[in-house]
């Protein structure tokens, strides 16, 4: 499909989809050379830099883990050994400060947004690639323009609309609904579908499949990498949301973990470093695990728009 005239998809935040001209691949199978070429840096040298980089990148988290087991007194004396209060902190954070409940809420929120966004992006991608209809480019422009409207910018109007006009303040739907549609996701699937051979849909139509059957039987089974890419981006994005839940959930009883961490700042009159750090570490576990597991899909999402 030639789409030279179409605007190209542009990311607006880390995690969105790009059309950078590159391709992610495992290190290329290098031709075995008798001697290592002189233009490559020496190996020990590379290992040294990499180890130092890993330690520097990892240091804040290691320190956070250390502090999360220590009492304030142990933190103040900079003991570089695990402290004694891990269990106490865990109980304080997860039970007394409801972080366990907040975590569960965050799971519900992230799954709802991720699933909803994926479904809506699949259907609108399908509509843009496999149909002609009057006003197609205008509708496409309507969706495209939302790439330039990050929710953060619209926060005042959005808050007034959702909590005022709709009266959804403090509710789950108020938290989730604004994030269900995604220009990024639509373009990701649009690009992916456009790169698939047209014979697929022709053959499916000859066999009498309707568009939805085509979507479920043919497109989705061929799109797991793209779905994974969108899912990992959206899961991390919605898990890490802070501003919106903070605003819309004021007074609601369904708070998410990022906002719940705020309450740890005031455990007592003085800040208790251990519980606060433990909260930060625990809240980071789900997105980090999802990211590490879906690293390949994450990169493949950026690759889709590359080749025509």
């Amino acid at each position: 499909m030639s789409d030279q005239s179409q605007p190209r998809v542009i990311p607006l935040r880390p995690g969105n989809v790009s059309d950078g001209e590159f391709e992610f691949a495992k290190p290329k199978p290098v031709r075995r050379r008798a001697k290592r070429p002189a233009w490559l840096p020496k190996r020990w040298y590379a290992h040294l830099v990499l180890i130092i980089a890993c330690v520097l990148v990892g240091a804040p988290l290691l320190y956070a883990m250390l502090v999360s087991t220590q009492t304030n007194a142990q933190v103040a004396t900079f003991t570089l050994a695990p402290g004694t209060s891990f269990n106490e902190h865990l109980n304080q954070v997860m039970v007394n400060r409801y972080l366990g409940e907040f975590m569960w809420n965050s799971v519900l929120l992230s799954v709802a947004i991720t699933v909803g966004k994926t479904i809506l992006s699949l259907t609108s991608g399908l509509a843009f690639v496999y149909f002609r209809f009057p006003g197609k480019w205008i509708i496409f422009g309507f969706v495209l323009a939302t790439l330039m409207m990050p929710t953060e910018i619209l926060i005042i109007g959005l808050f007034r609309f959702v909590s005022g006009t709709l009266d959804w303040g403090g509710t789950f739907q108020g938290l989730v609904a604004p994030f269900l549609a995604s220009a990024t996701g639509t373009f990701l699937f649009r690009q992916h579908f456009a790169n698939l051979p047209a014979e697929l849909s022709e053959a499916a139509q000859m066999d009498g499949a309707n568009p939805l059957q085509f979507l479920f039987r043919v497109l989705i089974p061929m799109s797991w990498n793209t779905i994974g890419a969108l899912a990992v981006i959206q899961f991390i994005y919605s898990w890490n949301m802070y501003l919106w839940p903070q605003l819309i959930m004021q007074g609601g009883d369904f708070q998410v973990v990022q906002v719940g961490l705020r309450s740890l700042l005031a455990v007592d009159t003085t800040i208790a470093y251990g519980p606060l750090m433990l909260g930060a570490v625990i809240a980071s576990i789900p997105p980090v695990i999802v990211f590490i597991l879906l690293q390949k899909q994450f990169m493949s999402g950026f690759q889709i728009t590359t080749d025509k």
């Binding site: 790009s18 233009w39 990499l50 804040p60 209809f133 005042i156």
Partner: protein
């Protein structure tokens, strides 16, 4: 001074003439007359688009000095927008684009032809969500920016462009906010990219355990800005933080990481760089793996040293990725640092780390001045549009890898 009665006529006539000239000159002689007519119409309507709804209030004689200039800017903005739309229309009329394609989309193989309503059924949920939760709030922001409106009360008063004029008022100190935003964004991008490229250059070649290194480097991307704020808050705490402890061990004087107005922005930058570094490394590695070996080998044979090979071969080939990373890092520094700042410095000390988005939320929801906050969001909107336009323009110039 121009009499106020003439203002509506002038704000339609001047852009109309300009629009007719621009589109007339740009189009082929065959359709020049139609183009000029469309340009005149677009320019005229565009000049009125943003000023007429406000009753041309910014040109009223008793208004402050800056208002007429803001009015001129609004005329230019509206006219530019509609003339651009007109130029798209001219592509259809001028025959560069077939009108059926323009209306219906391209005729491509594999289309589902019989289902006429299906695409609308498929698209409706997306369009409804976008219209309700993005377009309507954007429109509401636009309306609010001309009002004196406070959170929690329904009464509003029309204040013309006073909210915009306020941003230029030295007492509001909005300049400091803009400076802090660009300062933090600039150094986050420069340091993050330089460091990311350096580490990626070491890591991209097939070293043993490459994927383990990669995993150990990229995970901070998934850490939330809030968690990063907490971790760095405790690390950089003045008395109990490990950073000052290390400085004391080294014999230095402890630094007021969060309380000193000239240092606090750097603490934000350090936290931001840490969080985005993995992302940068990941993409630079992907880019470096596409730099063809033979180019470097050839340069090596020609006697280029390591630095020359890097500077003249590798760096230019990484252009597109660098550009992509600059954009993503800028947007990250502009918007996603909110949580980090809220837990590190809360915009302080004395507004030194109050970025535009942080200030917007603070003005709108803590100080309850919705009109001023909405105005600030329009400023941010303009910046985002600018970044996007630059992206589209630059996308044409591509650097290709290999043959």
């Amino acid at each position: 001074m121009i009499p106020f009665e003439l203002v509506p006529w002038l704000s339609a006539a001047i852009p109309a003439v300009l629009g007719a000239l621009v589109l007339g000159v740009l189009s082929a002689p065959r359709v020049r007359l139609i183009a000029a007519a469309i340009g005149a119409l677009a320019g005229g309507l565009g000049g009125l688009l943003l000023t007429a709804p406000l009753g041309f209030c910014m040109f009223e004689p008793e208004r402050s000095d800056i208002d007429p200039w803001l009015g001129v800017a609004l005329i230019a903005l509206g006219a530019g927008l509609l003339i651009w739309v007109g130029s798209l229309l001219m592509r259809v009329i001028g025959g560069q684009t077939d009108w059926r394609t323009a209306v219906m989309g391209a005729e491509t193989p594999g289309l589902f032809r019989r289902a006429r309503f299906t695409p609308w059924v498929l698209l409706t949920p997306t369009l409804v969500v976008l219209a309700l939760f993005l377009y309507y709030p954007a429109f509401d922001n636009l309306r609010l920016s001309t009002l004196l409106a406070r959170l929690g009360t329904d009464r509003t008063a029309f204040v013309c462009l006073d909210n915009f004029a306020k941003l230029f008022d030295p007492r509001q100190n909005y300049g400091q906010t803009v400076y802090a935003t660009f300062f933090i964004a600039f150094f986050t991008v420069v340091i993050g990219l330089a460091l990311g490229l350096f580490i990626a250059y070491m890591a991209y070649q097939p070293v043993k355990g490459g994927s383990i290194y990669r995993t150990l480097l990229v995970w901070p991307y998934a850490i939330s800005p809030v968690a990063a704020g907490i971790i760095f808050n405790i690390m950089f705490n003045e008395s109990a933080g490990i950073m000052n402890h290390l400085i004391r061990l080294g014999g230095g004087t402890p630094v007021q990481w969060l309380q000193d107005a000239s240092i606090a922005p750097w603490t934000i930058i350090i936290a931001s760089v840490w969080k985005s570094l993995g992302f940068n490394i990941l993409f630079y590695i992907a880019g470096l793996q596409n730099v063809p070996d033979d180019l470097q080998e050839a340069a090596n044979i020609d006697g280029a040293n390591a630095w020359q090979r890097f500077y003249y071969i590798v760096l230019p080939l990484l252009g597109p990725i660098t550009f992509f990373l600059i954009v993503t890092n800028i947007t990250y520094a502009f918007f996603d640092t909110y949580g980090t700042i809220d837990f590190l410095t809360r915009g302080g000390p004395a507004g030194a780390t109050s970025t535009m988005i942080y200030r917007l939320v603070d003005n709108g929801l803590n100080q309850r001045d919705l009109g001023l906050a909405a105005t600030q969001s329009l400023v941010l909107f303009a910046i985002v549009i600018l970044i996007t336009v630059v992206q589209f323009r630059t996308n044409g110039r591509r650097v290709s890898y290999g043959a």
